[in-house]
Amino acid sequence: MANNHYDAIVVGSGISGGWAAKELTEKGLKVLMLERGRNIEHIKDYTNAHKEAWDYPHRGERTQEMIENYPVLKRDYPLNEPTLGMWANEKDSPYVEEKRFDWYRGYHVGGRSLTWGRQSYRLNKEDFQANGKEGIAVDWPIRYEDVSPWYDYVERFAGISGSRDGLDVLPDGQYQMPMPLNCVEKDVAARIQKSFKGQRHLIPGRTSNMTEPKPKEGRTNCQYRNKCWLGCPFGGYFSTQSSTLPAAVKTGNLTVRPHSIVTEILYDKDKKRATGVAIIDAETNETYEFTSKILFVNASSFNSTWLLMNSATDIWDGGLGSSSGELGHNVMDHHFRIGAHAMVDGYEDKYHYGRRPSGFYVPRFRNWGGDKRDYVRGFGYQGSASRQGWGRDVAEMGIGANLKNAVSEPGSWQIGMTAFGEMLPDHSNRIFLDPNKRDKWGLPVLAMDVEIKENEKRMRKDMMQDAIDMFEAAGMKNVQGYDADYFPGQGIHEMGTARMGRDPKTSVLNGNNQVWDALNVFVTDGACMTSASCVNPSLTYMALTARAADFAVEELKKGNL
């Protein structure tokens, strides 16, 4: 290859990698973006985007063969015909479960930005202070005010729809019009407001599905097909492909290299700087080196940490950033799969039109505003109300024309919600390089040793009971709590393992996402999170990435990197 030197290298092309590429190229840097998987081109490669059940060989369901091939994916919803191939192949890329850990990885250009849940919330002021106040883990080195302008910035560009509710617990942002609540959700919201005296709120979900077009970026607003995970031909939701990649491409400063597994960050121990990266071409197994002034590591939380662990091992056994003793530690996710569902009487003259790819949100109310529990932190709920379809329980309807007529019409309204709880950072929850196992390319693989602890277990009692109480207070019928069990990783919100902090002895990254031991290396994906909050984290990765990119370019100009 003629040119192996760039101003910046970005490792990974998902939500945060896409933002890094956009920001750095727009600021004039020549950027090489490395992606371990195949390319997926916007629109052209969304080959299932217009399909319905009848267009798939098994109507979209999983086969026994798929179950056999994907022993981890089979545990949950991601394994299905429409998104087959959008998740890492477990045989090529195994990992070790010291304790059960469900790891869903997107190894292709765009990463999990194509398949993400799109819910987009800001952390609040308290989220950035709670560790410090409560003496848990370490204090965030930054505060809400440091990130707030960057939330503004990324929300405007990504296109987030949502309501402005004036709640301290869930700060408002730069939103397009919200996706509305339906008639049942609106009434439930009003009844909860009244029953809990304004202490609990049910609001429209804030989502990266657009309600207003962005013609300058060639993006149409959401068409309410609810097929986001197949790639949107309208660019209706935020993904690398729909949003950040075209912006980076437009600058003429971007080179993308798919099939490039970054194996090591090259490190100059005298200058204490990274000089570039080594890669294996995933198809040819050939190795290459690329050099750059700065490096953005956005390989997804665990893979970013994996890369640090495999770098500068001649200086630190545990790899770059391990001098803190915290690299690989403090794994977090959001614990969930618990809540309640209920039936709704009435509204028989009402239905819904269109398939809304979002629902309602109940912001955290526990340990907030004077409330005090036997655990710290809190949880929020995501849910929706809808009328039942043909799949409802048909035991009593017999067979024949009566059955057919009955299930051809919508059933009763129902409502459900699931709690997403904050998981505390704990040093004993960790990932590490397994000493024995290797992947298809002969590279070491990660082992996971993560579990929820007492604080999460106590919180889960409220996560179910509060949902029951709210539905009962709102007059719902046949209210049933559920706990479908949670195993770490299922939230697909892996966080921590290279946390930000104020002290190189207890953190891997400083307040600008720089690795303390290599200031020209920035880690701005979920690995950097010092605590988890209870809100969906991706919007925060976007904001932190844009902020760090701005800082990095300023530092380059000053000659500090």
């Binding site: 390319n39 819904h352 809304r356 799949g391």
Partner: protein
């Protein structure tokens, strides 16, 4: 790598400002549809499944199970998606319908009148209801994967409903389907008789 491909990459780079090095674009995985010969079942089996399906979801003023050819999709789903235990229960369930026709009416199922077919399957549906209730009581403390299978007719009924309502005919002619709704209305008027959305 051929010269042509290299030239193509250069062109792409010039046109878009991006160089996709080693670009071997691959889309979302698309899987081919399955044919009868790829299943464990025969043409006669599929015809029989269609007849059974038609009793469960008959043609009325709208198309029924046979119009949607649920039999073929049942054969595909049972072959590829069912566990061995489910496959066995389904196959035995279908065989028992044939046997029951013989023992009750002394005729092949296919030679029964519409009323006879309906009465026969209605009695199986009742039997399944009683059986499942007992099973549910017995298995309420078991994990999902350890739970016993429901009555074989329940499998048949569920698969008929699934293959029918996920078919193009079922979704478009019996339910309502809109490919691109374009908007969301959560306060949409409904009157009795209006069909449910297919998706």
């Amino acid at each position: 790598m051929s010269m042509n491909r290299r030239d193509l990459l250069k062109m792409i780079a010039a046109a878009t400002g991006t160089a996709f090095i080693s670009s071997n674009a691959m889309a979302y995985v698309t899987l081919p549809m399955k044919s009868l010969s790829q299943t464990d079942f025969s043409k006669d089996d599929v015809a029989f499944f269609n007849e059974v399906g038609e009793v469960i979801i008959p043609r009325t003023d709208t198309p029924g199970a046979k119009d949607a050819n649920v039999g073929l999709m049942m054969a595909v789903m049972v072959t590829d998606c069912y566990t061995p235990a489910q496959r066995k229960a389904f196959t035995e369930g279908m065989a028992s319908i044939k046997k029951l026709a013989k023992s009750t009416y002394g005729k092949d199922f296919l030679l029964l009148s519409g009323e006879e077919r309906a009465a026969l399957l209605a009695s199986l549906d009742d039997e399944a209801g009683v059986f499942n209730k007992k099973q549910e009581l017995a298995s309420k403390d078991l994990k999902d994967e350890d739970k016993p299978l429901p009555h074989s007719f329940t499998l048949i009924k569920q698969l008929t409903l699934f293959t029918f309502f996920t078919s193009e005919v079922g979704a478009n002619k019996v339910l309502r389907y809109v490919a691109i709704p374009g908007r969301y209305d959560g306060d949409f008027p409904y009157k009795k008789g209006d069909k449910a959305w297919a998706t």
